[in-house]
Point group: C2
Chain length 255, copies 2
């Protein structure tokens, strides 16, 4: 009989890991000691060492402990597991690539003085979380249209568009807070700018050649009041009501 039996610190050093890790692997059942002495000390033999080697190899490849356990139990499907893992690694890499692009875009915008992070960035098209409701309200492909339009813009164009929106929102809120009436010249001028702004979004009636601009603008105003997520842009329900009324009047008289 050889004395092929090491204390925990030994194989740890032998395999290039720590005793804590071995205890962890024991506790999760990934690698149990080949022998536990009466005093509770863990001992490992060559077979355990080989298994440990494999575990560490797979860990270096980025697999999680459950995945490693699975690979070691069902060695036949090891290749399939590894290939699935490569797929996951690739998707992670792509995600990182997108993040890098976004961050650099942001840096460039900030350097150009475009305060991307400065204003209210709310609107009905650029955020994905309302997909279902946007589709429900405006038709199945309204969301897709709005989204593709939005994604088609460069970072600068997006920033420009958002800034025009933010300016509009500010002015609407100021006008409402100032106690102006929806029919006042100031409110009507804002309505004109608002419609102009809407017309810059392709795919809506406001920008289509023979679109029902009037109905669209009136309906949109109603939505600002009905939906607090849009109404938020205008200072809440009261502000949204003001905007709706001004838009309705403007649409009736000018569109």
């Amino acid at each position: 009989m050889e004395e092929t039996d090491w204390a925990i610190h030994r194989i740890a050093a032998l395999a290039g890991t720590t005793s804590r890790t071995l205890r962890h692997y024991d506790s999760v059942g990934l690698l149990t000691p080949s022998r536990v002495a009466g005093n509770g000390y863990r001992h490992y033999d060559q077979a355990a060492l080989v298994r440990l080697q494999r575990i560490l190899l797979l860990r270096e490849l980025g697999l999680g402990l459950p995945a490693i356990a699975a690979v070691l139990e069902h060695q036949e499907s090891a290749v399939a597991a590894l290939e699935a893992h490569v797929g996951w690694l690739r998707s992670e890499q792509e995600r990182l690539a997108r993040q890098i692009a976004s961050v650099e875009e942001t840096i460039a915008s900030v350097l150009k003085g475009k305060n991307i992070m400065a204003e209210n960035m709310f609107d009905g098209f650029d955020h994905t979380q309302y997909r279902d409701e946007v589709e429900e309200r405006w038709g199945k492909d309204a969301y897709a249209r709005g989204d593709s339009w939005w994604r088609g813009l460069g970072a600068t164009a997006r920033a420009d568009w958002k800034e025009r929106q933010a300016a509009l929102n500010r002015d609407w809120i100021a006008a409402a807070a100032g106690g102006a009436s929806a029919s006042s010249p100031g409110a009507q001028e804002l309505a004109r700018r608002h419609v102009e702004w809407l017309a810059s979004i392709p795919g809506t009636p406001a920008s289509a050649p023979g679109g029902d601009v009037r109905g669209y603008v009136t309906g949109l105003g109603a939505m600002y009041v009905a939906d607090p997520r849009f109404g938020a842009n205008y200072g809440g329900e009261a502000g949204a009501t003001f905007v709706r009324d001004a838009l309705a009047l403007y649409a009736e008289q000018n569109l």
Copy 2:
């Protein structure tokens, strides 16, 4: 006064996140409610909404909450923080690229029937954790030499080399277990194969033109006994002793 003040669920929906997240941001001090009512309910105003927008924007870029807090507090250094973040993202991407390459190499080896995961993978050169000691024993650049040699090999060559090593280890252990003496013909033949195997590693005296093969092989045998990490390849100390003696005799008589 406007009623620009929303309940927690409102801004959550408004910003596309959850109330739990907002409570979390409150608890970590990243975003405190603009007002807390007598009943404990959190309320947020437009300023809070704007801040939340920025937080979520930065979060999408992959920044951690402490980093986000730092960026928002010191807006001047925002660009620097973002650039540092890009650097980290790039390093992560490189790490993933290396992992992908390794996993694919492993898959290819397994498919070729090379059981990379099947045998004892111990030797003095392929693992990095003994760098200090290898350098101490064999000189400052021994490690670097061994490592660069090893890394210069392709996956297939590595697997081949490891298999030859594993076969040698097996045979040594079998011979020692069989009770053979170090001077027996079997042991001496193993010693010959061992030296041959060593000679396949460039940068050692065994492969150098005028190297001190004799001293090298004898010293290596001593190390197998002295260091359990190497001795493990030969069935522990007894096995390593057998190998050392056989190598010493072989070196004396043939080198």
